[in-house]
């Protein structure tokens, strides 16, 4: 090694600097449409910097089945089969507001017993839908066991729905002006038509006790877990003003502290005869959304128990003409569905089918604020927030 004394070289060396700039390219992460926790085929295009997403755009439409257009070329009884496929985890509850809309235009009303049956089955649909959430949400946070506890109880409820309607997911049980006689009930020889299967009411009573017990178990299993609390508290906070601005409804809205429940404000089903609470959250975070749904399971079970005790006897079907034609007119009927406000804007021109049927589904509005709420979230939080909104892609895309 030689030591240089040349001043030029020394000056040159003193001016040499090394400038290395590491180029870090941002990554575009496609979450979905095929992904374990996008509840079907939602696609999120997330621009992530490391694990932090600074821009998330949901892409919907992979599940579009054109129900609004299909309804225009179907007769009223046929539309029933369509609408219970919108939000398939609570199929029965989707049918009710459509039927009520048609009935209001026809100026008939379902008999009281039919309304009670609708109410019992709608609340069962709510319980089964919320139990699916209870099953899938801890799974998205990494806990597999609550899934089995929740789905076991859901099976009990689905069995009851099946015993009445003949279908677990797609009951297709409502008729304009009432409900149809229960599947497999009565005997064709004796011409006896029975509306509810034998023993249904007592079985429902015990099943609701089991559901209440399972709700306690789930609370023990999930709410007592520090990691779940650390993963959900103060994550994905949705302020009430923001929720109202985006048209969020249902448990997601109530978790933000807004006490709004269509069951209390409208009379599409005789909810005013029952005593039940509307649970609300405090902070509007993921944890509140979980807890509100658990509380709603309990309230629904109580409503069903009251309804089973007080169900009146009487006919199942109001008098309707053989060929159902709805008088010209328009109406909007919204119902408090498990996912939120499910509304049908029905326009009739006096024909056999709807002229136009606008479906206002809860999940579509409930995920509309995803870009806002996911901005700056970590990848694990994206999953936690998305899961807590409890949407169904059939309900988003229709």
């Amino acid at each position: 090694m030689t030591i240089t004394t040349d001043p030029d070289v020394i000056r040159h060396l003193s001016e040499v600097s090394v400038s290395v700039e590491i180029e870090t390219a941002d990554m575009t992460l496609n979450i979905g449409p095929q992904h374990p926790s996008t509840h079907g085929v939602l696609r999120l295009v997330a621009k992530v910097d490391g694990e932090r997403a600074y821009d998330v755009q949901p892409v919907i439409g992979y599940m579009h089945r054109g129900y609004e257009k299909l309804a225009e070329v179907r007769t009223y009884p046929q539309v029933t089969a369509l609408v219970n496929r919108i939000d398939w985890v609570s199929g029965f509850a989707n049918e009710v507001p459509f039927m009520v809309a048609a009935e209001r235009l026809m100026e008939i009303e379902a008999p009281e017993r039919a309304q009670y049956i609708r109410l019992i089955l709608s609340e069962m649909a709510r319980i089964s839908s919320h139990l699916v959430f209870m099953a899938s949400y801890p799974l998205e946070l990494g806990a597999a066991t609550p899934l089995f506890f929740a789905l076991r109880e859901r099976e009990r409820v689905l069995d009851l729905i099946e015993s009445v309607t003949g279908g677990r997911f797609h009951p297709n049980f409502n008729r304009i002006g009432g409900v149809k006689p229960a599947a497999g009930s009565g005997s064709t020889q004796r011409k006896v038509v029975q509306d509810l299967p034998k023993g249904f009411l007592s079985e429902t009573r015990t099943a609701m006790d089991e559901v209440l017990h399972a709700a306690d178990q789930l609370e023990d299993l999930v709410a007592g877990n520090e990691i779940i609390l650390a993963r959900t508290k103060r994550i994905g906070v949705l302020p009430p003003e923001m929720a109202a601005a985006y048209g969020v409804s249902g448990p997601n809205l109530r978790a933000s502290g807004v006490r709004y429940d269509i069951r209390k404000t409208d009379d599409y089903l005789p909810y005013d005869k029952f005593d039940f609470e509307v649970p609300v959250g405090e902070n509007g975070d993921c944890w509140d959304r979980w807890y509100v749904r658990l509380a709603e399971i309990r309230e629904s079970a109580k409503i069903i128990q009251q309804a089973v005790d007080g169900i009146p006897s009487g006919p199942l079907q109001a008098k309707v003409p053989k060929l159902i034609k709805v008088p010209a007119g328009e109406t909007y009927v919204a119902a408090e569905n498990p996912k939120g406000e499910m509304g049908y804007y029905l326009v009739s021109d006096g024909g056999q089918g709807p002229y136009r049927l606008k479906i206002r589904s809860a999940s579509f509005s409930n995920i509309s604020f995803l870009p806002w709420i996911l901005e700056g979230a970590l990848v694990p939080d994206i999953i936690a927030i998305m899961g807590s909104l409890d949407f169904v892609l059939g309900d988003v895309d229709r």
Binding site: H35, F148, A230, P380, I382
Partner: protein
Amino acid sequence: MEALLDNFWVVLLGKVLIVAGLIPVAGLAVGFAELKLSAKMQNRIGPYFAGGRWGWAQLLADGIKFFQKEDLIPEDADEPVFKFAPALVLLGTVALFVVVPFGPGLIVQDLDIGIFYALAISSISTIGVLMAGWSSANKYSLIGGLRAAGQLIAYELPLVLATVGVVVMAGTMSLDGIVQAQAGWFSETGWTGGMPFVIPQLIGFVIFFIAALAELTRTPFDMPIAESELVMGYLTEYSGFRFLFFFLAEFANMFTLSAIAATLFLGGYWAPFIPDDVLMWAGPIILISKVAVLVFVIIWFRWTFPRFREDQLQTLAWKFLIPLALANIIGTAILKVMI
């Protein structure tokens, strides 16, 4: 016969065969325990038909199935790295197996720096995981691999620091020596001073166990895989027998790390009231029953807890476990000098 046993190469071959045979057996046993225990915890039956009874052959059948699968390598993958990664992961497990003492003298190789070797070699698996994540040419794999690397850095320290207390108490780094230091509890001559280190080193044991869970990437620290977030993490692109390698390594690693933990804290192959000559053949049984308890707890955790977030894991490691482990070392050292 004597001459044959003295031959270095024959002995080496024997040791290699034993380790190579025990790893799959341990992996299958732990895997089967996981299937059955998780089923029990979730109101299920679990595997039932394979093998005729209790579904004992389920994992063998799965293994055969994996061998029949097409060996898919993504087009953009870095092929040599992609192919080598599963081998490296399994290598870490196999190499760790070497220093576990199963009985007095029943050890593949008793090293003077046994615990040092064990802690160093167990990190090799993580390099394999990082290689798998990087070479898969998949964004989910990459995130999974990087999470695994971050997790390793955070949890290697508490793991090492937790064992320092044991080393201070035992005065040796040889795993066999550490077992010997714990022996002697309630012997015929009365109290002889030795006891399983879990009693004086309870804090160390808890830290070691938590850090080992993170090292195993088991729930609640399974972020590198995180099915609901990263599809399958670094395993996303693997299929067939390469996937089987990861699978086997995970379960065998549970066994070996539990064995290390049992050796360090629970007295290893030693148990009270058992004379030395019985210990010769009862040692493996005692060690394996201790391992079974630890493996059960790991499986129990997996099916009870959700997973942490990556930053929560780092917080837990740097702000809580490492200071606690350091305090534990200081306390142990002071007590060692005073007593």
